[in-house]
Amino acid sequence: MAHAERQQVHQTVFLGDLIGYGANPTEVLDVVMEQAERGAIVVQGNHDAMAVTPPTSITSQGAVTAQWTHNQLELHHLDFLRTRPLLETQGPCLFVHATADAPAKWRYVEDERSAQVSLDAALVQPEIRYVFGGHVHRQSLYYQGTGRSLMRFKPTPGVAIPTPSHRCWLATVGSVGQPRDGNAQAMYAVFDTSPAKLTFFRVPYNHALAAQAIRKAGLHESLASRLEAGA
């Protein structure tokens, strides 16, 4: 958050999955809820939904964690999560945790084809030019090349990419605190509306402390070790 503030952002957007992996769900929600009061957009992710109504039958490790998270949260936290929209728009931007075509199905945007489906659904609204998503824990920018289908681009952290609005763009901004590309640094992106430029960032944070808290809370070891490996 401090890094983002230094970029002088006017609008913060949380793309979902606020909780469900870590050992500090209440602290995270307190921060985000305070941001939301100050105007931040927060959309719901699959882990948020799972924490609100944890599965009744414990079949997976995710379900165990969801149950644990649910028990940590207070009523106002749960209310906040429950009332988050799946999809939010502002000006030319659409924000969604998974895909714009069926946000509640939690499909992954992991290749050009799924990106195309999501983008096509978003473009039904004529003013939309940009779709921002989370869910996949990787940073990618999908754009239109000279061919018919979308092309995928792997951004270099810290480089401002011109994203003029006569083209349509779909970005998966990665994940704060749950990277899956072998680099433990947190991911986020800043979109500058004028001139239209998108910058992906990688920021170091104290992932050792986060992993320690997970172990202390008695959550599954894999949740801690994946933070350290960024995998």
Binding site: E112, L141, Y143, G145, T146, G147, R148, S149, M151, F153, T156, V159, I161, P162, P164, H166
Partner: protein, 478 residues
């Protein structure tokens, strides 16, 4: 888009004469409106053709060039000033540069002109290679180099123009598409570009090879193909040897130019810096069968290659900077007097380590002698004799190094300013790393005078490794 009227004003720029009408764009000379701050250099405005009959590639070319000009810098690209919005009037305003494009050195049809000498061809080539290397170091590839897009300034340096088909590793490639079509100008396009590879710096080296071939013999090595099959010819065909047209040209020049034109990118120069090095050091060019060939490749050989090339297809290429960083030019400054065996030993160890982790690196061994060391009257101290002595000393020094795969050359520089000579050599040859001795008393003396190693470390345009002497003999002797 209709032509802009002379004298009209667009976003604060007064339109002057239209100085060029190309297939893709019009170029006008422009000035700031009165009262605006003067940028200190003349300006041109490039306006893409955008009527319905002009293709969409003009618009994308405009976008790409805008993207590139904003981020490229240095003396080998025009300076970028402003751009007009695609939604209103698209234009790019940039520095207007004096000079001639390479077309100036190519006679027009029917025109009689003296052919260029090997020296003229090599110095034009070296200038362009330096410009290309500067672009590659910025993580970009031009991908549309041709005589019309290369400008030689009055001082001899080259500037690259028209970045409409270029690509930069930091930005999405707007010209990429899933079908991987060939993008480029048919006469100069590299074989890998024909199968859709965009972003290999060695594609630019191929294009420079085509231009040098043109400058040398005034023929295009692969003609101007108009069909896809014609384009694919360069995937397997060897162009006719340079010296089959002009036996007066030296073998080293044929070697250099044909090495640029190799169909496999891996067989070309690994970086434009290596190419510039050969073009400026003809004596050090290693002449292979490529340089000696007198007749074109035979039918059967071509047929076999054609079969192999039929299966050739798109493969992604790594980032330009990554590629050229793997093949640096490493320079070692070898001292020749007041030097201990331990220093020479440590220097060699340091060079061996630096080369060991960089398989394609090129090594330049340099020694600096003072002008007083040679004499015009004394036979024993004639320039040739003295140089020869130093060259053989350096060869002895380098003898224990394993130099397989590393092109190596030895150079004697004459100068009374040792540090200056070393840094100038590094700058002139796009050296990526200098290895030199820290000099036994060099670092301590630094407090009182600027010593050679520190001067080099401060002024060099690249990394400098200062090697401290280390005696292995103590352990050996026990």
């Amino acid at each position: 888009m209709k032509l802009l009227e002379q004298g009209s004003v667009l976003d604060g720029f007064v339109i002057g004469a239209c100085i060029h009408s190309g297939g893709m764009a019009h170029i006008y000379s422009v000035q700031y409106e009165q009262g605006a701050a003067d940028p200190g250099f003349p300006l041109v405005m490039k306006v893409p053709r955008m009527t319905a009959s002009d293709g969409a590639e003009n618009i994308i070319g405009f976008e790409v060039e805008h993207q590139m000009l904003q981020v490229l810098s240095g003396p080998h690209m025009p300076r970028f000033v402003a751009a007009g919005d695609l939604e209103n009037t698209p234009y790019l305003v940039m520095e207007h540069l004096e000079g001639h494009t390479l077309n100036h050195w190519l006679p027009e049809a029917g025109e009689k002109r003296e052919p260029l000498t090997a020296h003229e061809i090599a110095s034009l080539g070296a200038a362009v290679a330096r410009a290309i290397h500067s672009l590659h170091k910025q993580n970009a590839c031009h991908l549309d180099l041709k005589p019309a897009n290369v400008l030689i300034k009055p001082d001899g340096t080259a500037v690259l123009l028209d970045f409409g088909l270029s690509c930069h590793a930091h930005y999405p490639d707007l010209l990429a598409e899933e079908l991987r079509k060939a993008v480029g100008s048919p006469s100069w396009i590299a074989p890998e570009q024909v199968v859709g590879v965009r972003g290999d710096p060695r594609s630019d080296i191929f294009a420079l090879g085509v231009m040098l071939y043109e400058l040398a013999v005034r023929e295009l090595p692969f003609g101007s193909p108009a069909t896809a099959g014609g384009l694919r010819q360069r995937l397997w065909m060897n162009p006719k040897p340079l010296r089959a047209y002009r036996p007066d040209l030296p073998e080293w020049l044929q070697e250099v130019i044909h090495k640029c034109l190799e169909h496999e990118a891996a067989n070309r120069y690994p970086s434009a810096a290596h190419l510039a090095f050969d073009l400026t050091h003809p004596d050090h060019v290693k002449i292979t069968a490529r340089g000696k060939r007198k007749v074109g490749t035979g039918f059967w050989e071509h047929f076999k290659r054609w079969l192999r090339a039929a299966g050739k297809q798109y493969q992604p290429s790594p980032m330009p900077t990554q590629q050229i960083e793997e093949v640096p030019i490493i320079m070692v400054a070898v001292p020749h007097h007041d030097v201990t065996d331990a220093t020479l030993y440590s220097l060699r160890q340091a060079v061996a380590r630096s080369l060991g982790i960089r398989p394609g690196a090129r090594l330049a061994c340099v020694t600096v002698i003072s002008p007083g060391d040679t004499s015009t009257t004394d036979q024993d101290h004639s320039e040739t004799m003295v140089h020869r002595r130093h060259l053989s000393l350096m060869r002895q020094w380098a003898e224990p190094l394993d130099l397989t795969g590393h092109q190596t050359s030895f150079h004697v520089l004459e100068s009374s300013d040792v540090a200056g000579a070393i840094t100038r050599y590094a700058e002139g040859n796009q050296v990526s790393m200098i290895v030199m001795g820290a000099a036994t008393h060099g670092l301590q003396m630094q407090r009182f005078v600027a010593t050679v190693p520190i001067k080099v470390a401060m002024d060099a345009p690249c990394t400098v490794i200062l090697v401290k002497q280390q005696l292995p003999f103590e352990q050996l002797g026990g």
